[in-house]
Protein backbone atom coordinates (compact mmCIF):
# COMPACT_ATOMS: atom_id res chain seq x y z
CA UNK A 1 0.00 0.00 0.00
CA UNK A 2 1.23 3.48 -0.68
CA UNK A 3 1.35 5.93 2.22
CA UNK A 4 -1.31 8.18 0.76
CA UNK A 5 -2.18 11.81 1.29
CA UNK A 6 -3.19 13.01 4.76
CA UNK A 7 -6.70 14.34 5.43
CA UNK A 8 -6.54 16.80 8.32
CA UNK A 9 -9.92 18.51 8.25
CA UNK A 10 -13.51 18.04 7.12
CA UNK A 11 -16.62 20.19 6.80
CA UNK A 12 -20.08 19.30 5.61
CA UNK A 13 -23.66 20.46 5.28
CA UNK A 14 -26.35 18.13 3.95
CA UNK A 15 -29.98 17.21 4.47
CA UNK A 16 -28.93 15.10 7.47
CA UNK A 17 -26.90 17.69 9.31
CA UNK A 18 -25.12 21.02 9.40
CA UNK A 19 -21.76 19.65 10.52
CA UNK A 20 -19.74 16.44 10.71
CA UNK A 21 -21.16 15.30 14.06
CA UNK A 22 -24.78 15.78 13.04
CA UNK A 23 -24.20 13.87 9.82
CA UNK A 24 -22.57 10.98 11.68
CA UNK A 25 -25.37 10.85 14.24
CA UNK A 26 -28.01 10.67 11.50
CA UNK A 27 -26.11 7.96 9.62
CA UNK A 28 -25.80 5.79 12.72
CA UNK A 29 -29.40 6.41 13.82
CA UNK A 30 -30.88 5.67 10.39
CA UNK A 31 -32.38 9.17 10.24
CA UNK A 32 -32.95 9.98 6.60
CA UNK A 33 -33.17 13.56 5.40
CA UNK A 34 -35.67 13.09 2.59
CA UNK A 35 -38.70 15.39 2.69
CA UNK A 36 -41.05 17.61 0.72
CA UNK A 37 -39.46 20.88 -0.27
CA UNK A 38 -39.84 24.05 1.81
CA UNK A 39 -37.52 26.30 -0.16
CA UNK A 40 -38.27 25.60 -3.81
CA UNK A 41 -41.28 26.79 -5.69
CA UNK A 42 -41.81 23.95 -8.14
CA UNK A 43 -45.05 22.55 -9.55
CA UNK A 44 -43.71 19.08 -8.74
CA UNK A 45 -43.50 19.72 -4.99
CA UNK A 46 -46.33 17.34 -4.13
CA UNK A 47 -45.11 14.54 -6.41
CA UNK A 48 -41.50 14.17 -5.37
CA UNK A 49 -39.24 14.44 -2.33
CA UNK A 50 -35.80 15.91 -1.84
CA UNK A 51 -32.70 15.78 0.28
CA UNK A 52 -33.21 19.42 1.12
CA UNK A 53 -31.19 21.47 3.60
CA UNK A 54 -33.72 23.40 5.63
CA UNK A 55 -31.59 26.50 6.19
CA UNK A 56 -32.72 29.32 3.91
CA UNK A 57 -30.30 31.43 1.90
CA UNK A 58 -30.77 34.25 4.40
CA UNK A 59 -29.93 31.89 7.30
CA UNK A 60 -26.73 30.82 5.55
CA UNK A 61 -25.76 34.36 4.56
CA UNK A 62 -26.19 35.63 8.10
CA UNK A 63 -24.19 32.73 9.55
CA UNK A 64 -21.43 33.56 7.08
CA UNK A 65 -21.64 37.22 8.10
CA UNK A 66 -22.31 38.46 4.56
CA UNK A 67 -23.41 42.02 3.84
CA UNK A 68 -27.05 42.43 2.79
CA UNK A 69 -26.11 43.23 -0.82
CA UNK A 70 -24.06 40.06 -1.32
CA UNK A 71 -24.35 38.09 -4.56
CA UNK A 72 -23.73 34.59 -3.25
CA UNK A 73 -25.89 31.92 -4.87
CA UNK A 74 -27.17 29.00 -2.79
CA UNK A 75 -24.44 26.80 -4.24
CA UNK A 76 -21.81 29.32 -3.12
CA UNK A 77 -23.41 29.78 0.32
CA UNK A 78 -23.42 26.03 0.98
CA UNK A 79 -19.88 25.67 -0.33
CA UNK A 80 -18.55 28.53 1.76
CA UNK A 81 -20.34 27.16 4.84
CA UNK A 82 -18.77 23.71 4.51
CA UNK A 83 -15.33 24.93 3.44
CA UNK A 84 -15.09 27.26 6.43
CA UNK A 85 -15.84 24.32 8.74
CA UNK A 86 -13.18 22.19 7.09
CA UNK A 87 -10.55 24.90 7.47
CA UNK A 88 -11.44 25.38 11.15
CA UNK A 89 -11.44 21.62 11.72
CA UNK A 90 -7.91 21.40 10.29
CA UNK A 91 -6.82 24.12 12.71
CA UNK A 92 -5.67 26.46 9.95
CA UNK A 93 -5.27 30.02 11.19
CA UNK A 94 -2.93 31.46 8.59
CA UNK A 95 -4.02 30.54 5.07
CA UNK A 96 -0.94 31.96 3.36
CA UNK A 97 1.57 30.20 5.60
CA UNK A 98 1.85 27.36 3.09
CA UNK A 99 1.21 27.09 -0.62
CA UNK A 100 -2.52 26.40 -0.42
CA UNK A 101 -5.06 25.73 -3.14
CA UNK A 102 -8.80 25.29 -3.48
CA UNK A 103 -10.26 22.67 -5.80
CA UNK A 104 -13.99 23.01 -5.79
CA UNK A 105 -16.57 21.25 -7.89
CA UNK A 106 -20.12 21.98 -8.90
CA UNK A 107 -22.51 20.81 -11.58
CA UNK A 108 -24.75 23.82 -12.13
CA UNK A 109 -22.99 26.54 -10.13
CA UNK A 110 -25.24 29.54 -9.64
CA UNK A 111 -28.20 28.15 -11.60
CA UNK A 112 -30.41 28.37 -8.49
CA UNK A 113 -30.14 32.16 -8.67
CA UNK A 114 -30.11 32.49 -12.46
CA UNK A 115 -33.44 30.66 -12.75
CA UNK A 116 -35.02 33.03 -10.24
CA UNK A 117 -33.98 36.21 -12.03
CA UNK A 118 -33.68 35.07 -15.65
CA UNK A 119 -36.23 37.50 -17.12
CA UNK A 120 -36.13 39.89 -14.18
CA UNK A 121 -32.60 41.14 -14.88
CA UNK A 122 -33.88 43.71 -17.35
CA UNK A 123 -36.57 45.04 -15.03
CA UNK A 124 -34.93 44.98 -11.64
CA UNK A 125 -31.47 46.58 -11.44
CA UNK A 126 -30.93 45.00 -7.99
CA UNK A 127 -30.68 41.59 -9.61
CA UNK A 128 -27.96 42.48 -12.14
CA UNK A 129 -25.25 41.63 -9.61
CA UNK A 130 -26.23 37.95 -9.96
CA UNK A 131 -25.38 37.77 -13.68
CA UNK A 132 -21.71 37.27 -12.82
CA UNK A 133 -22.58 34.68 -10.17
CA UNK A 134 -23.87 32.10 -12.65
CA UNK A 135 -20.71 30.24 -13.63
CA UNK A 136 -19.00 27.54 -11.60
CA UNK A 137 -15.83 29.58 -11.24
CA UNK A 138 -17.65 32.33 -9.41
CA UNK A 139 -18.78 29.79 -6.80
CA UNK A 140 -15.17 28.90 -6.12
CA UNK A 141 -14.03 32.54 -5.98
CA UNK A 142 -16.66 33.15 -3.32
CA UNK A 143 -15.49 30.17 -1.27
CA UNK A 144 -11.87 31.32 -1.60
CA UNK A 145 -12.92 34.76 -0.42
CA UNK A 146 -14.66 33.37 2.69
CA UNK A 147 -11.69 31.22 3.71
CA UNK A 148 -9.20 33.94 2.76
CA UNK A 149 -7.36 31.96 0.13
CA UNK A 150 -5.34 33.53 -2.70
CA UNK A 151 -3.48 31.25 -5.05
CA UNK A 152 -4.42 28.15 -7.00
CA UNK A 153 -8.19 27.99 -7.34
CA UNK A 154 -10.02 25.80 -9.80
CA UNK A 155 -13.33 24.07 -10.32
CA UNK A 156 -14.14 20.68 -11.77
CA UNK A 157 -17.46 19.98 -13.41
CA UNK A 158 -17.96 16.41 -14.54
CA UNK A 159 -21.56 16.11 -13.37
CA UNK A 160 -22.14 13.64 -10.52
CA UNK A 161 -18.52 12.50 -10.19
CA UNK A 162 -17.21 16.07 -9.85
CA UNK A 163 -16.11 16.06 -6.21
CA UNK A 164 -14.33 12.71 -6.54
CA UNK A 165 -12.29 14.30 -9.30
CA UNK A 166 -11.58 17.36 -7.15
CA UNK A 167 -10.29 15.08 -4.36
CA UNK A 168 -8.19 13.20 -6.90
CA UNK A 169 -6.61 16.32 -8.38
CA UNK A 170 -5.87 17.63 -4.89
CA UNK A 171 -4.15 14.40 -3.87
CA UNK A 172 -2.11 14.41 -7.08
CA UNK A 173 -1.01 18.03 -6.61
CA UNK A 174 0.17 17.34 -3.05
CA UNK A 175 1.93 14.19 -4.22
CA UNK A 176 3.71 16.13 -6.96
CA UNK A 177 4.71 18.86 -4.51
CA UNK A 178 2.78 21.52 -6.46
CA UNK A 179 0.80 22.42 -3.34
CA UNK A 180 1.50 21.90 0.38
CA UNK A 181 -2.11 22.08 1.35
CA UNK A 182 -5.35 21.94 -0.58
CA UNK A 183 -9.03 22.23 0.23
CA UNK A 184 -11.02 19.87 -1.98
CA UNK A 185 -14.70 19.13 -2.32
CA UNK A 186 -17.90 20.16 -3.98
CA UNK A 187 -21.17 21.99 -3.65
CA UNK A 188 -24.56 21.98 -5.36
CA UNK A 189 -27.78 23.69 -4.34
CA UNK A 190 -31.16 22.37 -5.40
CA UNK A 191 -32.52 24.10 -8.47
CA UNK A 192 -35.60 23.80 -10.64
CA UNK A 193 -33.15 23.29 -13.50
CA UNK A 194 -31.85 19.97 -12.16
CA UNK A 195 -35.20 18.90 -10.68
CA UNK A 196 -36.85 19.24 -14.09
CA UNK A 197 -33.82 17.85 -15.88
CA UNK A 198 -33.87 14.61 -13.96
CA UNK A 199 -37.63 14.51 -14.25
CA UNK A 200 -37.41 14.55 -18.06
CA UNK A 201 -35.05 11.59 -17.82
CA UNK A 202 -37.80 9.85 -15.84
CA UNK A 203 -35.41 8.79 -13.10
CA UNK A 204 -36.96 10.57 -10.11
CA UNK A 205 -38.85 8.39 -7.65
CA UNK A 206 -42.20 9.57 -6.27
CA UNK A 207 -41.28 8.20 -2.83
CA UNK A 208 -38.08 7.45 -0.86
CA UNK A 209 -35.22 6.18 -3.00
CA UNK A 210 -34.32 2.51 -2.52
CA UNK A 211 -30.75 1.78 -3.64
CA UNK A 212 -30.04 -1.74 -4.95
CA UNK A 213 -33.63 -2.83 -4.49
CA UNK A 214 -35.21 -4.84 -7.26
CA UNK A 215 -38.21 -2.47 -7.33
CA UNK A 216 -36.25 0.78 -7.20
CA UNK A 217 -37.94 3.62 -9.05
CA UNK A 218 -35.30 6.31 -9.19
CA UNK A 219 -33.52 8.94 -7.18
CA UNK A 220 -34.35 11.81 -4.82
CA UNK A 221 -32.42 14.93 -5.70
CA UNK A 222 -30.51 16.47 -2.85
CA UNK A 223 -28.27 19.40 -2.07
CA UNK A 224 -25.08 19.52 -0.06
CA UNK A 225 -21.53 20.74 0.23
CA UNK A 226 -18.49 19.14 1.79
CA UNK A 227 -14.76 19.79 1.82
CA UNK A 228 -11.65 17.97 2.97
CA UNK A 229 -8.34 19.56 3.87
CA UNK A 230 -5.39 17.62 2.45
CA UNK A 231 -1.90 18.38 3.71
CA UNK A 232 1.60 17.25 2.84
CA UNK A 233 3.42 14.95 5.26
CA UNK A 234 5.89 17.78 5.73
CA UNK A 235 3.19 19.95 7.33
CA UNK A 236 1.72 17.02 9.23
CA UNK A 237 5.08 16.24 10.82
CA UNK A 238 6.11 19.82 11.40
CA UNK A 239 2.88 20.80 13.08
CA UNK A 240 2.10 17.46 14.69
CA UNK A 241 -1.26 17.42 12.95
CA UNK A 242 -3.87 14.82 13.62
CA UNK A 243 -4.48 12.76 10.49
CA UNK A 244 -8.11 11.71 10.14
CA UNK A 245 -7.45 9.23 7.35
CA UNK A 246 -5.49 9.04 4.12
CA UNK A 247 -6.31 9.02 0.44
CA UNK A 248 -4.44 6.07 -0.98
CA UNK A 249 -6.12 5.34 -4.28
CA UNK A 250 -7.97 7.21 -6.98
CA UNK A 251 -8.81 6.91 -10.65
CA UNK A 252 -11.06 8.24 -13.35
CA UNK A 253 -12.16 6.33 -16.44
CA UNK A 254 -14.74 6.89 -19.09
CA UNK A 255 -17.51 4.52 -19.98
CA UNK A 256 -17.43 5.92 -23.56
CA UNK A 257 -20.86 4.44 -24.07
CA UNK A 258 -23.64 7.00 -23.82
CA UNK A 259 -24.12 10.61 -22.71
CA UNK A 260 -26.36 9.70 -19.75
CA UNK A 261 -26.76 5.95 -19.43
CA UNK A 262 -24.11 3.64 -18.01
CA UNK A 263 -23.06 0.61 -20.03
CA UNK A 264 -24.71 -2.73 -19.21
CA UNK A 265 -21.57 -4.27 -17.76
CA UNK A 266 -20.33 -1.12 -16.04
CA UNK A 267 -17.10 -0.97 -18.00
CA UNK A 268 -16.13 2.56 -16.90
CA UNK A 269 -16.84 1.80 -13.24
CA UNK A 270 -14.88 -1.44 -13.48
CA UNK A 271 -11.87 0.35 -15.01
CA UNK A 272 -11.99 3.15 -12.40
CA UNK A 273 -11.97 0.66 -9.52
CA UNK A 274 -9.18 -1.43 -11.08
CA UNK A 275 -7.00 1.64 -11.66
CA UNK A 276 -7.64 2.90 -8.12
CA UNK A 277 -6.50 -0.42 -6.62
CA UNK A 278 -3.33 -0.14 -8.66
CA UNK A 279 -2.62 3.41 -7.46
CA UNK A 280 -3.27 2.38 -3.85
CA UNK A 281 -1.32 -0.83 -4.32
CA UNK A 282 -4.15 -2.70 -2.62
CA UNK A 283 -5.85 -5.95 -3.46
CA UNK A 284 -9.66 -5.64 -3.86
CA UNK A 285 -10.09 -8.09 -0.97
CA UNK A 286 -8.44 -5.60 1.40
CA UNK A 287 -11.42 -3.24 1.10
CA UNK A 288 -13.62 -3.39 4.22
CA UNK A 289 -16.49 -1.23 3.03
CA UNK A 290 -17.70 0.05 -0.34
CA UNK A 291 -19.65 3.29 -0.31
CA UNK A 292 -21.51 2.82 -3.56
CA UNK A 293 -22.66 5.53 -5.92
CA UNK A 294 -26.05 3.73 -5.62
CA UNK A 295 -28.40 6.46 -6.84
CA UNK A 296 -31.34 4.01 -6.93
CA UNK A 297 -31.99 4.54 -10.63
CA UNK A 298 -32.62 1.29 -12.50
CA UNK A 299 -29.63 1.93 -14.76
CA UNK A 300 -26.99 3.03 -12.22
CA UNK A 301 -27.50 0.29 -9.66
CA UNK A 302 -27.52 -2.43 -12.29
CA UNK A 303 -24.41 -1.13 -14.01
CA UNK A 304 -22.51 -0.42 -10.78
CA UNK A 305 -23.55 -3.73 -9.25
CA UNK A 306 -22.30 -5.61 -12.31
CA UNK A 307 -19.00 -3.71 -12.18
CA UNK A 308 -18.53 -4.58 -8.50
CA UNK A 309 -19.45 -8.20 -9.19
CA UNK A 310 -16.81 -8.27 -11.95
CA UNK A 311 -14.14 -6.80 -9.66
CA UNK A 312 -14.91 -9.44 -7.03
CA UNK A 313 -15.50 -12.39 -9.36
CA UNK A 314 -14.89 -15.59 -7.38
CA UNK A 315 -14.28 -13.60 -4.19
CA UNK A 316 -16.46 -12.27 -1.39
CA UNK A 317 -17.84 -8.80 -2.06
CA UNK A 318 -17.07 -6.54 0.95
CA UNK A 319 -19.89 -4.98 2.98
CA UNK A 320 -21.44 -2.28 0.85
CA UNK A 321 -24.15 0.34 1.05
CA UNK A 322 -25.34 3.50 -0.61
CA UNK A 323 -25.95 6.52 1.61
CA UNK A 324 -28.15 8.19 -1.05
CA UNK A 325 -31.25 7.01 0.85
CA UNK A 326 -30.16 9.37 3.65
CA UNK A 327 -29.11 12.42 1.65
CA UNK A 328 -30.61 12.10 -1.79
CA UNK A 329 -28.33 12.46 -4.80
CA UNK A 330 -26.40 15.66 -4.23
CA UNK A 331 -24.82 15.69 -7.72
CA UNK A 332 -21.40 17.36 -7.75
CA UNK A 333 -21.26 17.29 -3.94
CA UNK A 334 -22.06 13.57 -3.69
CA UNK A 335 -18.49 12.31 -3.68
CA UNK A 336 -17.49 15.02 -1.20
CA UNK A 337 -20.10 14.16 1.41
CA UNK A 338 -19.42 10.48 0.85
CA UNK A 339 -15.71 11.15 1.36
CA UNK A 340 -16.59 12.58 4.77
CA UNK A 341 -18.74 9.49 5.45
CA UNK A 342 -15.89 7.23 4.35
CA UNK A 343 -13.45 8.90 6.73
CA UNK A 344 -16.01 8.65 9.56
CA UNK A 345 -16.51 4.95 8.77
CA UNK A 346 -12.76 4.40 9.22
CA UNK A 347 -12.51 6.53 12.37
CA UNK A 348 -15.50 4.92 14.06
CA UNK A 349 -15.40 1.43 12.60
CA UNK A 350 -18.91 1.42 11.15
CA UNK A 351 -20.67 0.36 7.99
CA UNK A 352 -23.76 2.51 7.38
CA UNK A 353 -27.04 0.86 6.57
CA UNK A 354 -28.45 0.95 3.05
CA UNK A 355 -31.92 2.20 3.99
CA UNK A 356 -35.19 1.25 2.30
CA UNK A 357 -33.90 -2.06 0.91
CA UNK A 358 -36.29 -5.01 0.80
CA UNK A 359 -35.81 -7.14 -2.31
CA UNK A 360 -32.58 -8.36 -3.86
CA UNK A 361 -32.07 -7.42 -7.51
CA UNK A 362 -32.87 -10.22 -9.95
CA UNK A 363 -29.75 -9.68 -12.05
CA UNK A 364 -27.12 -10.60 -9.47
CA UNK A 365 -26.51 -11.88 -5.96
CA UNK A 366 -25.58 -8.63 -4.24
CA UNK A 367 -27.25 -7.70 -0.97
CA UNK A 368 -26.30 -4.40 0.67
CA UNK A 369 -25.65 -4.01 4.39
CA UNK A 370 -29.05 -3.00 5.76
CA UNK A 371 -28.23 -2.63 9.47
CA UNK A 372 -25.55 -0.50 11.11
CA UNK A 373 -22.51 -2.76 11.54
CA UNK A 374 -19.53 -2.22 13.81
CA UNK A 375 -16.18 -3.64 12.74
CA UNK A 376 -12.62 -2.53 12.14
CA UNK A 377 -12.29 -0.65 8.87
CA UNK A 378 -8.90 -0.08 7.28
CA UNK A 379 -9.93 0.75 3.73
CA UNK A 380 -13.06 2.24 2.18
CA UNK A 381 -13.71 2.41 -1.54
CA UNK A 382 -16.07 5.14 -2.71
CA UNK A 383 -17.58 5.23 -6.20
CA UNK A 384 -19.05 8.19 -8.06
CA UNK A 385 -20.33 8.30 -11.62
CA UNK A 386 -21.56 11.14 -13.76
CA UNK A 387 -23.12 12.02 -17.09
CA UNK A 388 -20.83 11.63 -20.03
CA UNK A 389 -19.69 8.23 -18.76
CA UNK A 390 -17.53 9.86 -16.11
CA UNK A 391 -16.53 7.17 -13.57
CA UNK A 392 -14.40 7.84 -10.49
CA UNK A 393 -13.19 5.82 -7.56
CA UNK A 394 -11.41 7.07 -4.44
CA UNK A 395 -9.93 4.80 -1.76
CA UNK A 396 -9.59 6.04 1.84
CA UNK A 397 -7.34 4.27 4.34
CA UNK A 398 -6.64 4.32 8.04
CA UNK A 399 -3.59 6.42 8.96
Amino acid sequence: MNRGIAITGMGIISAIGNNVDENFRALTNSDKGISRTDNIDTIHKDEIMFGEIKKSNDDLASELGLAADHNFTRTALLGAFAARQAVANAGISNMSEYKTGLINSTSVGGMDTTEKHYYEYFENPDTIKFISAHDGGDTSQKIAEIIGLEGFVTTISTACSSAANAIMLGARMIKAGKLDRVIVGGTDGLAKFTINGFKTLMILTDTYNTPFDNDRKGLNLGEAAAFLVLESDKIVEKEGKKVLARITGYANANDAFHQTASSENGEGAFLAMQKAFKVANLDPTQIDYINMHGTATPNNDLSEGRAVARVYEGKDVPDFSSTKAFTGHTLAAAAAIEAVYSVLAIQNGVVYPNLNFTTKMAEFDLVPQTELKHKNIDHVLSNSFGFGGNCSTVIFSKN
Partner: protein
Protein backbone atom coordinates in the same frame (compact mmCIF):
# COMPACT_ATOMS: atom_id res chain seq x y z
CA UNK B 1 -54.23 6.28 -40.61
CA UNK B 2 -51.88 7.07 -43.51
CA UNK B 3 -52.21 10.76 -42.71
CA UNK B 4 -51.34 10.08 -39.08
CA UNK B 5 -48.26 8.10 -40.14
CA UNK B 6 -47.08 10.94 -42.34
CA UNK B 7 -47.73 13.39 -39.51
CA UNK B 8 -45.73 11.26 -37.05
CA UNK B 9 -42.79 11.08 -39.44
CA UNK B 10 -42.74 14.83 -39.83
CA UNK B 11 -42.96 15.33 -36.08
CA UNK B 12 -40.20 12.83 -35.35
CA UNK B 13 -37.91 14.60 -37.80
CA UNK B 14 -38.69 17.95 -36.23
CA UNK B 15 -38.39 17.06 -32.52
CA UNK B 16 -35.30 14.92 -32.96
CA UNK B 17 -33.65 17.49 -35.23
CA UNK B 18 -32.95 14.90 -37.95
CA UNK B 19 -31.50 17.29 -40.50
CA UNK B 20 -31.42 15.94 -44.06
CA UNK B 21 -33.90 13.12 -43.31
CA UNK B 22 -37.15 13.21 -45.34
CA UNK B 23 -40.43 11.61 -44.26
CA UNK B 24 -40.14 9.37 -47.31
CA UNK B 25 -36.81 8.03 -45.97
CA UNK B 26 -38.65 6.43 -43.03
CA UNK B 27 -40.66 3.33 -43.93
CA UNK B 28 -43.72 2.36 -41.90
CA UNK B 29 -42.25 -0.97 -40.88
CA UNK B 30 -38.57 -0.13 -40.31
CA UNK B 31 -37.20 -0.22 -36.77
CA UNK B 32 -36.91 3.31 -35.40
CA UNK B 33 -34.33 2.28 -32.84
CA UNK B 34 -31.10 0.33 -33.08
CA UNK B 35 -30.25 -0.74 -36.60
CA UNK B 36 -33.10 1.14 -38.28
CA UNK B 37 -33.18 4.90 -38.01
CA UNK B 38 -30.58 4.62 -35.24
CA UNK B 39 -32.50 6.30 -32.46
CA UNK B 40 -31.62 5.70 -28.80
CA UNK B 41 -33.05 5.95 -25.29
CA UNK B 42 -32.87 9.76 -25.17
CA UNK B 43 -34.87 9.97 -28.39
CA UNK B 44 -37.42 7.66 -26.79
CA UNK B 45 -37.84 10.17 -23.95
CA UNK B 46 -38.34 12.94 -26.52
CA UNK B 47 -41.04 10.86 -28.23
CA UNK B 48 -42.77 10.23 -24.89
CA UNK B 49 -43.12 14.00 -24.46
CA UNK B 50 -44.36 14.27 -28.06
CA UNK B 51 -47.17 11.79 -27.26
CA UNK B 52 -48.09 13.80 -24.15
CA UNK B 53 -47.96 17.23 -25.75
CA UNK B 54 -49.60 16.53 -29.10
CA UNK B 55 -51.89 13.54 -28.40
CA UNK B 56 -52.59 13.76 -24.69
CA UNK B 57 -51.08 10.34 -23.97
CA UNK B 58 -49.16 10.10 -20.68
CA UNK B 59 -46.60 7.33 -20.23
CA UNK B 60 -45.13 7.04 -16.75
CA UNK B 61 -42.68 4.21 -17.33
CA UNK B 62 -40.06 4.76 -20.05
CA UNK B 63 -40.03 0.99 -20.64
CA UNK B 64 -43.52 1.21 -22.16
CA UNK B 65 -41.99 3.16 -25.01
CA UNK B 66 -40.09 0.11 -26.23
CA UNK B 67 -43.14 -1.59 -27.75
CA UNK B 68 -44.89 1.57 -28.84
CA UNK B 69 -41.93 3.01 -30.73
CA UNK B 70 -40.93 -0.15 -32.61
CA UNK B 71 -41.94 1.35 -35.94
CA UNK B 72 -44.16 4.02 -37.44
CA UNK B 73 -46.90 1.35 -37.77
CA UNK B 74 -46.87 0.44 -34.07
CA UNK B 75 -46.63 4.07 -33.01
CA UNK B 76 -49.55 5.14 -35.22
CA UNK B 77 -51.70 2.25 -33.98
CA UNK B 78 -51.00 3.18 -30.35
CA UNK B 79 -51.73 6.87 -30.92
CA UNK B 80 -54.96 6.06 -32.77
CA UNK B 81 -56.17 3.84 -29.91
CA UNK B 82 -55.14 6.05 -26.99
CA UNK B 83 -55.21 9.66 -28.09
CA UNK B 84 -57.19 12.12 -26.01
CA UNK B 85 -56.64 15.05 -28.32
Amino acid sequence: MEALKQELKEKIIAVLNLEDVQPSDISNTDALFGDGLGLDSIDALELIVLLDKDYGIKLTDPKEGKNIFQSIDTMAAYVEANRTK
